[in-house]
Structure formats: structure tokens, C-alpha cells
């Protein structure tokens, strides 16, 4: 069967290794690796066997391959009248393997931010150069609630190649869908030839989605929560919730849809330097602090309210897309148990 006409088929675990072997040996593969008992990170992988497949999701979202935690956006040399600008370093094509549907949806959620009237070249370039191999879930994690936002845990359209494990722990192979030219290219170069799927792929995916949905630990219904921005803005709920907030950046940095950044210049002793775009957090005290000393969000209450309303309301108002994808990382990692799923229920309760 010609790959160019194949949109879906089945590959084995060994095929998967072959699929990734080329990029791995070229140093271009980023894949999940368990670096500590409770920490899984997307890191460069040279040997596909080192990839962790026994994970719910990574600790740090793969957004950092499209929107890095620190990215040099330009350089300069000289000063005064002799100043000249230097282009940032060239990027290499990458293969990013193991991206879950919640993180794939996050790409769509972030597209209007980095696109729009002023398309972001850095995001665009990284998207063009990155071949994303998505990996459907076999088990919902303890804090997952992607289905609440209408996301299937089984497959998502943003991946270039979408793998759906046919049975846990994927010993039985993967349903593979070619969803873009880049995906097709990766498949073709690896020499892996998918077999025909026994059951109609769409049926398979639907069945898996239903099976998995039934196993989610919590059922969240966010319908109507976006109205909280208008109706509960001045409510004391935020002040009460913020009492325990530490004002750290854990939730924002682990969130696949958070995109706030700072732009920081660094100068070397010889006067040359670079401008870096770095992750920033709206929960940090100085996020909106002006040079005059005025701060529109002076306490943790305003800052926490801003983050939660951005996720649950503002993003949808601006872009027509839900700001949260239910990945559950913030729930798992918040040191003081501020739980966005619980916040959804609280806000809806306050509005009745």
C-alpha cells in the first residue's frame, strides 16, 4: 500500500523503534524519559529504547519545544553609533515524540496567540521544523480531565503522526494516522510500512475514547464557567483562595497553554549581547509592576483571579477556544492544592 494514500494503519512496537531510530541517531529526537521516580521530561534521546512509555504525561509540558523557557530572539554587537543586530542561531528540525492529546490541543489553543495580526516567527519556525508524533493515552491520570473540554484522550489532529495504542501496555502495537506531509515524510524515511487496520480506525478510536472516558476519576462540567469573569470578578472567593497561594510559578510553567513571557536583555563584558524571551508568570508579584511603582494587581488575590479567569474565561472570549485542556499538571504540582477542577465547580456553585 503506498504511504502517500495511507491515512491510517497499524505498526508494531518494533516498528515504533525503527520509526524513531533515524532521528535519534541524528540527535534530533526529543522523547519522554523518566529522570526521577516522579519526574518525566521530554529530553534529547539517542537510543529509542531509553524512551519511557510507562507514563501518563510529562512533568514539564512539551510546549517548550515550540515556545522555549528561554529563547534567544536576537543578538547585537557594537554600541552607540556602531551598534548592529545579529540574527538568532539557526534551528534544526526535530522529531517530538510522545505528545498526549491534551498537549496537542494546547497547540491549537496557543496558535491564535502566536499567530494573529503579528505572526510570531519563532513559534512559526519551530512548528515548521518540528515533526510531532502524538501518542494517545491508555489510562487517564489521577488528575486528568481533558474530556471535560471535549478533548479525546485517544487522538488529536495537531500531530503530524498520531499513534493510538491498541491495547495497554502497547505490546499489541499502535494505530497510526498520517495527518500531515511531515508525518508522511517521517514514515517514509523510516521505511516502516503500516499494516492494514483490522477494524475501521474511526470506530476503534471512538470505542477507545468511550472506554477511557468511563475511567476518568472526576467528571467535570465546565459549562457556563466563563461567565464567572463577568459575574464574580469582585467576589471575595478570590481573596479566600489566594490566602494559601504561594505566588510561585509552578502552575503557569507546567501549564501547556500558559504563554506569558518576559523579554530580557543580557550583555557580555565586551558589550555584545542577546535578547531572550523567557517564560514569565502572572502570579509573580512584579509581573504587572510598573516603573512608577503602581501595580494593577497588587496582591495574590488579583493575580490568582487573573490566571484562573484567563484559563476559564478570557481565552475563550478572545479566541473562541477553551484556555484549559485538562492535563491536570497544575493540580498534581500545586504545593497548596489549588485545584482548577475544583475552582470550576466552586465558581459554578457561586453563580447559581
Amino acid at each position: 500500500m503506498s504511504v502517500t494514500t495511507l491515512t491510517a494503519g497499524v505498526i508494531s512496537r518494533e516498528d515504533l523503534v525503527r520509526l524513531l531510530a533515524g532521528p535519534a541517531s541524528e540527535g534530533r529526537l526529543m522523547a519522554p524519559v523518566r529522570v526521577a521516580p516522579e519526574v518525566v521530561l521530554f529530553v534529547p534521546v539517542r537510543d529509542p529504547d531509553a524512551i519511557t512509555l510507562d507514563y501518563v504525561n510529562s512533568t514539564v509540558p512539551p510546549k517548550e519545544y515550540l515556545f522555549p523557557r528561554a529563547e534567544k530572539i536576537l543578538g547585537w554587537r557594537g554600541s552607540g553609533p556602531q551598534l548592529e543586530l545579529i540574527l538568532p542561531p539557526e534551528l534544526q528540525p526535530l522529531v517530538l515524540f510522545g505528545v498526549r492529546p491534551c498537549d496537542l490541543r494546547a497547540i491549537t489553543v496557543l496558535e491564535p496567540v502566536f499567530g494573529g495580526a503579528y505572526p510570531d516567527l519563532y513559534w512559526r519556525r519551530r512548528r515548521e521544523l518540528t515533526t510531532i508524533v502524538g501518542l494517545g493515552c491508555t489510562e487517564p491520570g489521577p488528575y486528568c480531565f481533558c474530556v471535560a473540554w471535549g478533548i479525546s484522550p485517544v487522538a488529536a489532529p495537531e500531530a503530524d503522526l498520531m499513534l493510538t495504542p491498541l491495547e495497554p501496555p502497547a505490546a499489541g502495537g499502535y494505530l497510526v494516522a498520517v495527518q500531515s506531509a511531515k508525518g508522511e515524510e517521517l514514515l517514509r524515511r523510516s521505511g516502516v510500512g503500516p499494516q492494514a487496520a483490522g477494524t475501521e480506525p474511526a470506530v476503534l478510536r471512538e470505542r477507545r475514547t468511550a472506554e477511557l472516558t468511563a475511567r476518568f476519576r472526576r467528571l467535570i462540567d465546565p459549562t457556563g464557567v466563563e461567565r464567572a469573569a463577568e459575574r464574580l470578578f469582585e467576589h471575595s472567593y478570590w481573596r479566600e483562595l489566594a490566602r494559601r497561594c504561594l505566588g510561585c510559578g509552578i502552575c503557569t510553567f507546567l501549564c501547556p497553554t500558559c504563554h506569558c513571557f518576559n523579554v530580557i536583555d543580557r550583555t557580555a563584558p565586551d558589550g555584545s549581547g542577546g535578547r531572550y524571551r523567557c517564560w514569565d508568570s502572572c502570579l509573580f508579584e512584579r509581573f504587572t509592576l510598573q516603573a512608577s511603582g503602581h501595580n494593577p494587581r497588587p496582591t495574590r488575590a488579583e493575580r490568582l483571579r487573573n490566571r484562573l479567569l484567563h484559563k476559564l474565561s478570557y481565552h475563550r472570549t478572545r479566541y473562541g477556544l477553551e484556555g484549559c485542556t485538562g492535563c491536570g499538571r497544575c493540580v498534581a504540582a500545586c504545593p497548596v492544592n489549588i485545584d482548577i477542577a475544583e475552582v470550576v465547580a466552586d465558581l459554578k456553585g457561586l453563580m447559581t
Binding site: G80, L83, L85, G116, N262, V263, R275, T288, L309
Partner: protein, 277 residues
């Protein structure tokens, strides 16, 4: 990097004017002829100035777009970046990105009588509109400018304030300083109280305000009493901005991004926003 909205265009400082002890106006010319040609701004828009090594700052463009040979930025020295910028000399290069923001609602203002109320460095974005209006004098009605600063030394744009604007047809300028000073025979008192004394009628008029938050608050109260409806009171907000293009996520008031949907707001729109600025 032509299409990169985060890439600054290099511009050379061609003239520096010391407006006050802590405000300088930098007249810059973009280095690239294509960039010069394409940079067309509206009064009230801003640009992000790069001081390489320090970062970028959002500064209102204080020159009128009718004067196309240069761009002017009036910058108060408040922090690290502006401190370094204030040490620059003519011939030095900075970076420029813009113009960003919505600017003043020129279509609405056409044919109208205008009342400008400014305090301190707040006159900078208003100056862009004032000079635009003077270059297109017949498009606008009468003009009153009420402006004040802490002291005579702190008055910005002194030449325009004392010489150019009062001489323009249909323009009246009312200047005040906070406390009496030797050699100053003009009005003494804060801007809001001067405005109350002058009591300009709000009938059919637009009020455009820019200054420190406390001044704006008091002026808004005065204007309400003078018959200015919220739709005809216009101000420009100052918020911390890092990109100017709606991506860095920090200049939002509720779901409104001030860099792309502001910084110019009329009072009606402002009152509909959540109290977060």
C-alpha cells in the same frame, strides 16, 4: 527579519532636547528607508524602544504623523532602561518596534471642539494629537489646552507651550504649576482645580486627558460636573508592556489587551472594564 514583529528596526538619534530635569525628547530617524516609509502612525499610538542591553520600553510617540522626517519620543527617566537611554548621545542607535495601539479616535474628533488636559509627562501623547490638529487646523474646532506640572522646570515642551501653540488660531493655552515660584506670573494650583476655575463647557466638546493617575481621577470628576458625557472623555492608559502585540499576556484588563485594543479608551469603555488597572 522583515516580517518578524519582535525584531526592532534600528534608528539613529538625531537630536536630544532636555525638556525638564528628568524628561528628554529623543528625535530619531529609522535607518532603513523602507522602514521609514512604512512607519505611519496615528496620534496616541506607541512604540517599543530598544535600549540594547537593558530591554524595551513602551513609549508614546510624541511627534505628529504629519511631520514625516522623524519620530519623537519624550521619555522620563524612571528606571534602569530610561536611565541608560538618558545617557545616550546624538548619533547613538536604538531599536524601534511599532506603531502599536489604537491611537486617538480621529474620525470622532473631526469638526469637534477639543479640551486637552495634561499633567507632567502626560502631555507627550497629547502633543502628537495637538500638532496633528494644528497641521490640519480646519478639520477641528476650537482648542483649549490645560496643562500643569510640579514646577516651571518640570513643564514639558516649553517652546510649544509658550510660543507655538498660543499663536495658533483658535487655540488657548492655560498653564499652571503646583507652587509659587519666583519669576512665574502665571497660574498656581493643581490641574484639577485650575480646570474647575476655568469651567469649560462640555457641550459638544471632547476632553482628552493624560497624566498621573491621581490627576486623571480628579479631572474625571470635574469633567462630569462640566457636562462631558463618558463617550466624549478620552484618556490613554499606561500599563507595563513587554511585546506590544498581544502575546506576552501582561497588559490585559479582564479579557481586553491594552496594547492592541488600547491604550486609548473613552470613559464609557473604561467603566465597562473590570477594575484592574
Amino acid at each position: 527579519m522583515r516580517d518578524n514583529p519582535l525584531w526592532p528596526h534600528l534608528a539613529t538619534i538625531v537630536k536630544i532636547v532636555d525638556e525638564t530635569p528628568d524628561v528628554k525628547t529623543f528625535r530619531v530617524v529609522l535607518d532603513d528607508p523602507g522602514a521609514r516609509e512604512n512607519f505611519r502612525h496615528r496620534p496616541g499610538q506607541v512604540a517599543l524602544l530598544s535600549v540594547f542591553g537593558q530591554g524595551e520600553a513602551t513609549i508614546s510617540i510624541s511627534s505628529s504623523p504629519t511631520r514625516r522626517d522623524y519620530l519623537e519620543f519624550s521619555v522620563r527617566r524612571v528606571g534602569r532602561l530610561t536611565g541608560v537611554l538618558h545617557q545616550f548621545e546624538e548619533g547613538y542607535k536604538i531599536g524601534l518596534r511599532g506603531p502599536y495601539g489604537n491611537g486617538f479616535p480621529l474620525e470622532e474628533l473631526r469638526g469637534r471642539d477639543l479640551l486637552f488636559v495634561g499633567g507632567g509627562i502626560g502631555l507627550a501623547p497629547l502633543r502628537s494629537l495637538i500638532n496633528y490638529m494644528l497641521d490640519r487646523r480646519d478639520d477641528f474646532g476650537s482648542v483649549e489646552i490645560v496643562y500643569g506640572a510640579r514646577s516651571v522646570a518640570d513643564l514639558c515642551f516649553k517652546e510649544e507651550l509658550f510660543t507655538v501653540w498660543p499663536k495658533a488660531p483658535g487655540v488657548r493655552v492655560y498653564t499652571t504649576i503646583d507652587r509659587p515660584e519666583y519669576g512665574w506670573d502665571g497660574h498656581v494650583g493643581f490641574v484639577p482645580s485650575y480646570l474647575a476655575e476655568l469651567a469649560p463647557s462640555g457641550a459638544g466638546k471632547y476632553a482628552l486627558i493624560c497624566g498621573p493617575p491621581i490627576m486623571i481621577r480628579l479631572v474625571l470628576q470635574e469633567l462630569a460636573g462640566l457636562g462631558f458625557p463618558p463617550e466624549r472623555i478620552v484618556t490613554t492608559l499606561e500599563l507595563k508592556m513587554k511585546c506590544g502585540i498581544g502575546k506576552c499576556g501582561r497588559c490585559n484588563i479582564g479579557s481586553t489587551m491594552v496594547c492592541t485594543e488600547g491604550p486609548v479608551f473613552n470613559l464609557a469603555r473604561l467603566q465597562a472594564l473590570p477594575p484592574e488597572y
